[in-house]
């Protein structure tokens, strides 16, 4: 094969999570209007404040335009063609795992997420969200003994409305942006997590999102509140069947860390990326933001983004409490026709606040990978520091890496550092490795894993291994 073609003839994606589950579902007709929102709210038996909030969000959304500033391209999305609610049909909400439809349990087992507690990875509690609803949460009772609430969002609305009302929308208001407003109007479920004062959550909490039904948009909402001096580590995973049409996933995640609290939030995103020609795949338009509301608090985002046709997300931290710390560690891999526009915002409001950004973007095939970041240090936020490291790796010569960093520092006592590089792995590197006995695929995998090392080490051990495997699978066939 000629040198310049070495990376172009990629075989189709191997996406082993692309199956569908034939389960009877209760599905709303496509389209968005007040009635659909009322239906979702009624289905969930929500208190009045929730419906009111949704409708406010909806009316605000109607006045908004889809954002155009991201470096992504897609045909216009017909928001009236999307199904906003679909739930597996059950007589009533299962009270325990024993009552969960075995077909659903089998689905999650196939995804490598066993939900029966005997089989679950030790030390990980899982909330499983299937299309629009949460179908099971493990280890709930165990956690409850410590005062930790970990449940489906819809359940929290029923059982802890005061907590939901107090915190919902305080980090990402319903008017925040086009996709967040849409989510606020129609979100159907997600996870809720509350760690009381002084409690260190003894296990990883995790939510596994699965899109199953066709034409469904998944709009989940996650809210994590860590009270004073508490600690929680949280992980989310995502997959979807292979479908020829695009599907929309517009989630919102809000994190609140009070005095001396710490939240670690990790994502392994493996939504269906579409085929090698760019047919199908998930549009992953997500708003994630945390606030370090209290002094000495800390929020870390770690993300491994390998799926989705388009990724648009900027997990951010508002550093309001003095001495608080925000961190963002990201690996974004795009192959074939995938597009990613991702990065972070670190907003320094409190004094002596610190932030770290480590972004690793990898592109292969015809993919486009963009880092977009903002470091904003306000006038009164004295003595702040930011360190940013932004590296891109190109495999072949038809893909692209783009970097849009913005830095605004409004006082003289703060320091920012920005380090960036773009490197290309080409035929000569691959040949060098092959001359030492490595196959071309092993060479790429070694190079990419080495490149991502700083981010992987931020993940819990089991997930770091998973992430590495996942990356290798997605890299298969990126060299000819």
């Amino acid at each position: 094969m000629a040198t310049e073609d070495w990376i172009q003839d990629l075989p189709p994606h191997e996406y082993k999570y692309g199956f569908t589950t034939e389960i009877e579902a209760e599905t709303a007709p496509p389209g968005l209007n007040e009635d659909i929102i009322r239906l979702i709210s009624a289905k969930k038996n929500e208190p009045a404040f929730m419906l009111e909030w949704r409708l406010k969000a909806y009316h605000h959304w109607l006045t908004m335009q889809e954002p155009q500033w991201a470096k992504i391209h897609h045909p216009p999305i017909d928001y009236q063609a999307i199904v906003y609610y679909s739930a597996p049909k059950t007589e009533r909400r299962p009270k325990s795992l024993a009552e969960v439809d075995p077909l659903l349990l089998a689905t999650y087992r196939k995804l490598g997420i066993p939900l029966s507690e005997q089989e679950v990875l030790t030390g990980v509690a899982v909330d499983a969200v299937f299309d629009s609803v949460s179908v099971a949460t493990t280890y709930k009772e165990h956690l409850a003994k410590l005062g930790i609430i970990f449940c489906a969002f819809s359940e929290a609305v029923q059982n802890h409305p005061e907590l939901v009302q107090k915190h919902l929308g305080t980090v990402v208001p319903y008017s925040d942006n086009f996709f967040a407003s849409l989510n606020s109007a129609v979100f159907s479920d997600g996870s809720f997590c509350y760690i009381p004062k002084g409690v260190r959550c003894p296990m990883e909490l995790s939510t596994y999102f699965r899109i199953n039904a066709p034409r469904i948009g998944q709009f989940e909402r996650t809210l994590i509140v860590a009270e004073e001096g508490s600690y929680v580590s949280y992980l989310e995973g995502c997959t979807a069947p292979m479908r020829a049409e695009h599907q929309l996933h517009a989630a919102v995640v809000e994190l609140i860390a009070l005095d001396r609290a710490q939240i670690k939030y990790a994502t392994v995103q493996n939504w269906y990326p579409g085929d090698s020609e760019g047919q199908g795949g998930i549009y992953n338009f997500v708003t994630k933001r945390g606030i370090c509301a209290g002094v000495d608090s800390r929020i870390s985002w770690t993300q491994v983004e390998v799926g989705s046709a388009i990724t648009w997300k900027y997990p951010s931290v508002v550093l309001r409490g003095d001495n608080s710390i925000g961190e963002f560690y990201s690996v974004a891999l795009t192959t074939h026709r995938q597009q990613a526009d991702t990065g972070t915002k670190m907003i320094h409001i409190g004094r002596n606040t610190r932030s770290t950004i480590v972004s690793k973007g990898i592109s292969a095939g015809y993919a486009q990978n963009t880092y977009r970041g903002l470091v904003h240090i306000l006038r009164k936020a004295t003595g702040c520091r930011n360190y940013t490291q932004c590296h891109s790796l190109l495999l072949g010569d038809r893909c692209g890496a783009h970097t849009f960093p913005s830095i605004a520092v409004h006082n003289a006592s703060s320091q920012v550092e920005h380090e960036a590089s773009t490197t290309k792995i080409g035929e000569d590197q691959i040949f060098y490795c092959r001359q030492r006995g490595l196959s071309a695929e092993d060479a790429v995998s070694l190079i990419v894993n080495g490149f991502c090392h700083e981010v992987f080490r931020e993940l819990p051990m089991e997930f770091a291994v998973e992430a590495q495997k996942l990356l290798n699978v997605r890299l298969e066939g990126t060299v000819g």
């Binding site: 040198t3 040949f431 092959r434 001359q435």
Partner: protein, 262 residues
């Protein structure tokens, strides 16, 4: 006389549509160190790349047998696993992978191919230390990405260390001596001398005879216009040093060059 490790017969090879090697013959046996000298553009690096299997170098005629097998049908990694090592003239930088990690992956792949057990981290580090000591190479670059930001001398030391490490049957050193100061040159020479053994063959490709002050080859060949035009003992290198390459040029070859010149 031991069986040949490498037998090249009437090799013709082209790159970018231009014929570079034009009927090259060479036999290398185990235990031998042979030097190939030649001016720029004589085909030295092309020979190295053809033997290592680099894409973009097309063999148009001739045969190459490696331990009796057809070398030219093997993919590059297979040649490496079978014991063919090329020390690059310009070692490639690989950002994102530490030298240590790279060496370990390469060594274990080759060991596996030879039916040996893979080395764990501890045995591996012990071997690295032993080889670095043997070659008197400072191994502080092992924790840095492969060749990234290395000085010219460090890159060449890294090549020699890798050679010592992967224990090849045939080591080809493509102008490993070029651009080195005398100290670095001595390290390269020491590497070659230490690695010289009854079961190993070495092919030193060089522009100058400098290296040959420290390494005494069994044979010296002069490569000109893609063909070996003169072979001899180490004294040939000294003659070349003294007289240059001009006296060896074949008149007809020069004329044909001039004819094709624009």
């Amino acid at each position: 006389m031991p069986d040949p490790i490498l037998e090249i017969r009437d090799l013709h090879a082209a790159t970018a549509g231009k014929e570079i090697l034009r009927g090259l013959n060479l036999t290398v046996r185990a235990g031998e160190v042979q030097a190939i000298m030649g001016p720029n553009a004589s085909g030295k690096s092309t020979l190295a790349y053809v033997l290592a299997g680099r894409e973009g170098y097309e063999v148009t005629a001739g045969t190459v047998r490696y331990e009796g097998k057809d070398l030219l049908i093997m993919p590059p990694e297979e040649r490496a696993r079978e014991g063919l090592f090329l020390a690059f003239q310009y070692p490639i930088e690989i950002p994102g992978m530490t030298t240590l990690h790279f060496l370990k992956a390469a060594l274990n792949t080759i060991r596996k191919h030879r039916g040996l057990e893979e080395l764990d981290a501890i045995d591996f580090l012990a071997l690295v230390k032993e080889r670095a000591h043997l070659l008197d190479v400072d191994a502080d670059f092992l924790n840095r990405p492969v060749n990234a930001g290395f000085s010219g001398g460090e890159k060449k030391r890294n090549e020699i260390l890798q050679m010592a490490f992967l224990d090849p049957k045939l080591a080809i050193l493509d102008e490993t001596d070029s651009g080195l100061d005398i100290d670095a040159l001595k390290i390269v020479a020491r590497g070659v001398n230490v690695m010289r053994s009854q079961d190993r063959a070495m092919l030193l490709i060089t522009h100058y005879q400098r290296l040959l002050n420290f390494v005494v080859p069994d044979y010296v060949h002069v490569l000109l216009n893609g063909r070996i035009v003169k072979s001899g003992g180490k004294e040939l290198a000294l003659t070349v040093e003294e007289r240059g390459y001009g006296w060896l040029e074949e008149p007809h070859a020069r004329i044909s060059e001039e004819k094709t010149a624009p």
